[in-house]
Subunit: 235 residues, 2 copies
Amino acid sequence: MQLKGHGGVGAWTVVAHVLAVAATALVLVWCIHFRGGLALRSHDKQLIFNTHPVLMLLGLVVLAAEAILSYRSFPQHMILISRDARKKTHLALHAVALALGVLGVYAVFKYHAEADIPNLYSLHSWIGIATISLYALHWLAAFLTFFFPGASQATRRSAVPWHAILGLLVFALAIGNAQLGFLEKLTFLQGPPLRLSRYGAEALLVNFTALVVLLLGVAVVLATANVDSTRYTAM
Amino acid sequence: MQLKGHGGVGAWTVVAHVLAVAATALVLVWCIHFRGGLALRSHDKQLIFNTHPVLMLLGLVVLAAEAILSYRSFPQHMILISRDARKKTHLALHAVALALGVLGVYAVFKYHAEADIPNLYSLHSWIGIATISLYALHWLAAFLTFFFPGASQATRRSAVPWHAILGLLVFALAIGNAQLGFLEKLTFLQGPPLRLSRYGAEALLVNFTALVVLLLGVAVVLATANVDSTRYTAM
């Protein structure tokens, strides 16, 4: 079952990149074409909401996926990309991902305030707050341990597997919470007053976007999981 | 960060058992006390629906968790529990989990048919069908590979890590889809005609039940993840 591309990059990594591009395109088609566009200031409050799924997906899903993959699946024999450069790429991509996520959370609070919708009652919002908080804490803890000031070699060595599994858990939370967000929004749209068709183009688009995000999550886990340890050392 | 109980059973395993009991209690309180009870035949079609979350949770979440833990975290030095017995327990628990899951899916189709609700339009239903199908396929493939007739030693050895990671992925899908189910049902109940309070006792109960299920999933992954390989051999 080992899948492998050329040059030592696993096929799951390639699949993940393709799905990341597809998820970005699909969420833009949904929010711009079907939902009317994006704005952080507008009389049409729905346009403010629309920035929320776009920013969360770009940040905690797409860039987070790229950040994880950048560390784990760059071909080890590409001499030009040193371990240090991979580490800095990993850390910088996660920082940008987190910043977009924070902006996306701000956007939905702004929408709720201006459209007079209560905050923080749904499971999506609860898990969302937990996820972005854990993402930030995990980033900070990893920065202090592995980058600056940096812990002792022994501490780093024992922290690495915990960093990997806790990082993947936070990423899995982000993937799962994106599913909750897609389902929640579509359920609202399918209720009154809009009563969007349950089997219409937009409903199918949103569900397919959610599935692409889910498969992206699976591909990242499979690309990262140490199932075949030879993959990371093979020339 | 290594957590360990007495006798070689990890603390995450103990946490998982406690959360499994809590999740079972909470879903029963919800469906019986708040939603009126359970029935597979009734004039009150809601009672038919109520069996769906109970059966799915007992099957694909609670028993699935116990099945995973039974193989990975029994203390290896307990001579009375042989590897063969653990394997049979693992396989039997997963079979019962799957049977309850199939009954739970039947219940919700029966509810839809009798209450005139369309099928298979929501993300929860799509991922649900995928999850139970993958659960069944994975069980069957593992049965043929590891139990009867059984593959060669070499094939088994290379299949074990794939069995573990794909099994955990299917379990993660079940945990995530339970979240989608709780959110979807609560969103329906909070819309017209019921307009259940967004911050009322039932809303909090359902969200907390979902969080307990989520934490159960995390505990099972952490109990199973091979982060500290000494845990499985330590006397």
